[in-house]
Amino acid sequence: MAEVDDTLKRIEAHKGVIGTIVVNADGIPIRTTLDNSTAVQYAGLLRNLTMMARSTVRDIDPQNDLTFLRIRSKKHEVLVAPENDFLLIVIQNPCE
């Protein structure tokens, strides 16, 4: 528990990070620094998107797998890291 906390704190403390969310396999946020409604929205939507991205990658090459997903929007950048049925979502402000 402490390790998890530490790692997440390291990420949260990074420059420009607005918030982080850890999501489980069902798309339910487990731990988040944002408010609940935002976290739930992000979790649900990004879970679907990640699954679709993952299936795309694997359809093209079954040996391949999705390691990272980056969505850059006008206002900020969303980083999604899938692994082992969990999902780590980080929202970061661009540096400029």
């Binding site: 528990m1 390790e3 998890v4 790692t7 997440l8 390291r10 990420i11 990074h14 420059k15 420009g16 990070v17 850890v22 489980n24 069902d26 798309g27 339910i28 487990i30 731990r31 609940n36 739930v40 649900g44 390691t67 990272f68 980056r70 850059r72 950048e77 980083l79 890291a81 692994e83 082992n84 049925d85 969990f86 780590l88 980080v90 970061q92 661009p94 540096c95 400029e96």
Partner: protein
């Protein structure tokens, strides 16, 4: 064979009876005969030849026998059977050759047909009894009993009624065996090639068809059809859901789990890597786009327009005939509206004083939606030479007249009318006037009278040449001291006129120093006639009593006399207020349009002095000088408030200065034009202009900075053309010259940006015409870091200038000495020289030299007054 056995049965019975008597030993139906050889030959029954033991039967014709009997009578062998034969029913009689002489004769005649049949067709010998049992097993067909069916069959059967005709064809005998040649022949070739038996309707009888066989088959007819249900009632179905959430305990459990730990460990490096990447560089920056200038990047495929395109031209012949436009302003808030001040041309005013009455001076408001008719007219009894919109409230307009008075208008009642005429509005005439003034756009434009005019004692003695509002950030006291502006709206106006003074006016209700004045004012109120409805009461308090706050005079620095200001420019002070409470309060106030009639001037003591306001002005004079002076009044030795002497004066321009414009990007860069050159000044650098252009052929008559590009400005010329200068590209000549924008001298240029995509340049000319040009993209989209570059440029120029001036000083000293020597020897030349020099100096950057020269010559006493510099 028709069975006639019934009959024959009787006859046979008869014949049997007759045959009994002759012979015995043989059956009754047989008559043995002896036939002579001749008879045998006659009948063809020669013994052992025609009839033999194997075939003993011979059928004789009854007729033959009868004929024989007749011919040979008793000789005939058949005489004994004559009667029997005659009574024989059948035609043929059987004669049997009896070889074995069973009946004692050689032949015997069968008398009865049954016997004949019996003999001819002897019945089968009786089968042995062994077979009898078998035969009895197989069913023996019964004897057919006639029940009359044979008659039906006989009726139906087809018999030949007519004997068949038999034709025999044979060839001639000699041709038998001859070779034959067969060939084909068409039957139609020969006439009688064929014989046709056509069927014809025989009229003798007709057959009526009584019965016809026909068959009927029922066939099912197929027809396909389809059905589709219509979705008549569309119904939205929705479900509402609530996001699933885990309870805290569950979350704890998961957080403790191993899998989460592993997940975090594996994911963290990736995420940190990505976060860092983000920090290091912008991965998504488009280098290609950044490479190009703004204009190329945004609008690549289209043709890049370099020129100023004519957007609209406004003329109104009714009002603008024989008038020239002195100044134009874009409406600060309403897009697409220009206000234009018309004045009579110089010559006319003096001559036609009578007509001046009938044609009042006007400020016209033009709108893009209706180019040929002005939207609004602001009227004034005297010609307006300068005006400006109030920055805080665009409905207030201050104007300066040619007689020296200051006038105020309030157009808040007609704003909707002006606004209603937006370029995007439809062409339907709009009756939006709240006052109920019926308004057909084509026929009548609303006219607004001035609502306040300054008093005749307090105004300028000469025509007002420039009028400006003080920015809303500060206000000025009676001594010119800048103090904070509590209302945060523009309340004060500065005017300058040809009577060599500047005046500061306050728009608010003035604090009355004189009680008599107050009495007079109050008594005036009921006395004054009720003004017509169209004039608002905003500035009633000022009407005809308006006096300036204070005056600033412009005495010349070195000589007596005063400068005659034409245009001036003051710095727009941006207030850095530390007092946040006040700021928020004032912000709230700003949102509500300030009611000028309610404002009261505050006492100078209560307001805080603002120390960092730049109270100095740049003034352009009639003689082409640029004067830098402070407007604060100082106390002189006697305690009187006098304006100070100007700090600097530069005679740069050969003729009067048309415009003094501050750059909208740098508050210390000023552009001045006059005569055939222009100069760019930096405030604080008192040695001279940063940039002085070379002389051009045509006079520069108007100038304007671009609102979006710090390095670009527009200059209008006397021949109606516009020059576009870009300081970063070329400083010695314009980047673009566009000819024939207007037909006559350009009097004023103003830039406006209606939207980010459209920048417009309004150009007014001597003949009352206003042209609006569209600035192309290249001229309004700033280049990369343009302001930085311009700043650097000016700094460079400053440094250069300092270096140059130092050199000039040295040179100047030397020349002074040289001249001093020369003047003693040649008294004529200095005059000529001074004239030449004074003209030459304008082409160089020796700002101080002419005055210096003047000074020197005066000292020596050889100063001759030249035409350029007036000495009053």
């Amino acid at each position: 064979m028709p069975p006639k056995r019934r009959k024959s049965a009787r006859s046979s019975a008869g014949s049997e009876g007759r045959g009994k008597g002759t012979d015995k030993g043989h059956p009754e139906d047989i008559f043995p005969l002896v036939l002579t050889s001749t008879t045998q030959e006659l009948f063809g029954c020669i013994a052992d030849q025609d009839v033999t033991g194997e075939s003993p039967y011979k059928l004789l014709q009854k007729d033959d026998i009868i004929q024989d009997i007749k011919r040979r009578a008793t000789v005939s062998d058949f005489s004994p059977v004559k009667k029997i034969v005659l009574g024989y029913p059948e035609d043929e009689v059987l004669l049997v050759y009896d070889r074995d002489f069973t009946y004692n004769r050689a032949f015997y005649l069968v008398l009865t047909p049954e016997a004949k049949d019996r003999i001819l067709n002897p019945p089968e010998p009786e089968t042995p009894e062994v077979f009898e049992t078998e035969v009895s097993k197989t069913p023996r067909p019964k004897h057919w009993i006639s029940l009359g069916s044979e008659q039906e069959i006989e009726e139906k059967s087809v018999k030949e009624t007519i004997k068949k005709l038999c034709y025999k064809f044979s060839r001639v005998r000699r041709k038998f065996g001859a070779p034959v040649c067969f060939s084909d022949r068409n039957t139609a070739d020969a006439k009688d090639g064929f014989l046709e038996c056509v069927s014809y309707q025989d009229s003798r009888f007709s057959i009526k068809q009584m019965q016809r066989d026909c068959g009927v088959q029922a066939v099912p007819r197929l027809r396909s059809s389809s059905a589709q249900t219509q979705w008549k009632f569309q119904r939205n179905i929705f479900t509402q859901y609530v996001p699933r959430e885990l309870s805290d305990k569950e979350k704890e459990n998961i957080l403790q789990s191993e899998s989460l730990k592993n997940f975090c460990n594996s994911v963290t490096p990736r995420v940190l890597h990505a976060l860092q990447q983000q920090e290091i560089m912008n991965v998504f920056s488009d280098d290609w786009k950044d490479l190009g200038t703004g204009a190329e990047g945004s609008d690549w495929p289209g043709k890049v327009y370099q020129d100023l395109m004519l957007f609209q031209a406004f003329t109104d012949h009714k009002y603008t005939k024989d008038r020239k436009i002195n100044s134009i302003h874009w409406h600060p808030t309403i897009n697409g509206v220009i206000a234009v001040a018309l004045t009579g041309k110089k010559g006319e005013q003096l001559i036609d004083s009578t007509t001046a009455v009938t044609r009042p001076s006007l400020i016209l408001f033009y709108s893009f939606s209706d180019p040929s008719n002005p939207q609004l007219l602001l009227e004034c009894p005297v010609d307006i030479s300068a005006f400006e919109f109030c920055p805080s409230d665009p409905n207030i307009i201050v104007g300066g007249c040619v007689k020296g008075q200051v006038v105020l208008w309030d157009i808040s009642a007609h704003v909707t009318h002006v606004q209603g005429a937006q370029p995007s509005a439809t062409k339907v005439p709009v009756n939006t006037d709240t006052f109920g003034i019926v308004d057909h756009k084509e026929t009548k434009t609303p006219v607004v009278q001035h609502c306040a005019m300054s008093s005749s004692e307090g105004c300028h003695k000469g025509p007002i040449t420039d009028v400006q509002w003080l920015p809303p950030t500060f206000e000025v006291t009676r001594t010119g001291l800048p103090v904070e502006n509590k209302n945060k709206i523009s309340v004060q106006v500065v005017t300058c006129s040809l009577d060599c003074t500047l005046m500061f006016w306050d728009v608010r209700v003035q604090r009355l120093l004189n009680p008599s004045l107050s009495g007079r004012k109050q008594s005036m109120d009921p006395k004054t006639k009720p003004t017509p409805n169209s004039v608002p009461d905003t500035f009633r308090h000022l009407d005809r009593t308006w006096k300036p706050l204070f005056r600033v005079s412009l005495p010349k620095i070195d000589t007596s006399g005063e400068y005659i200001p034409l245009k001036f420019s003051l710095e727009h002070y941006i207030c850095n207020d530390n007092n946040t409470d006040e700021a928020t309060e004032n912000e709230n106030d700003l949102e509500v349009t300030p009611d000028y009639s309610q404002l009261r001037m505050s006492s100078a003591k209560t307001l805080r002095t603002l120390k960092d306001v730049n109270t100095k002005l740049y003034i352009g004079t009639v003689n082409g000088e640029i004067v830098y002076t402070d407007w604060k009044l100082e106390k002189d030795d006697f305690g009187r408030l006098l304006s100070a002497k100007p700090l600097h004066c530069f005679s740069i321009h050969p003729r009067s200065v048309n415009s003094v414009q501050r750059s909208p990007f740098f508050k210390d860069i000023i552009l001045t034009t006059g005569g055939c050159n222009f100069a760019i000044w930096k405030e604080g650098v008192m040695d001279g202009p940063m940039l002085l252009s070379s002389r051009s052929e045509q006079d520069y008559t108007a100038a304007c900075w671009s609102l979006s590009r710090p390095a670009v400005f527009f200059i209008g010329k006397r021949d109606g053309s516009i020059e576009v200068w870009n300081l970063l590209e070329k400083t010695s000549e314009p980047t673009q010259v566009q000819e024939h924008i207007t037909n006559s001298m350009i009097t004023c240029i103003k830039v406006c940006s209606t939207s980010s995509k459209q920048h417009l340049l309004a150009v007014s000319d001597d003949q009352g015409q206003v042209c609006v040009l569209e600035i192309p993209k290249t001229l309004y989209i700033p280049a990369k870091s343009e302001s930085l570059n311009v700043k650097k440029y000016f700094e460079l120029e400053e440094d250069n200038m300092k270096v140059v001036l130092k050199e000039e000083e040295l040179c100047g000293k030397q020349k002074k000495e040289a001249e001093g020597l020369k003047k003693r020897t040649e008294p004529d030349k200095p005059t000529v020289k001074s004239l030449d020099l004074s003209k030459e100096e304008y082409m160089t950057e020796y700002g101080d030299f002419p005055s210096l020269n003047e000074h020197n010559l005066k000292n020596i006493g050889l100063w001759v007054a030249t035409a350029d510099t007036p000495d009053t």
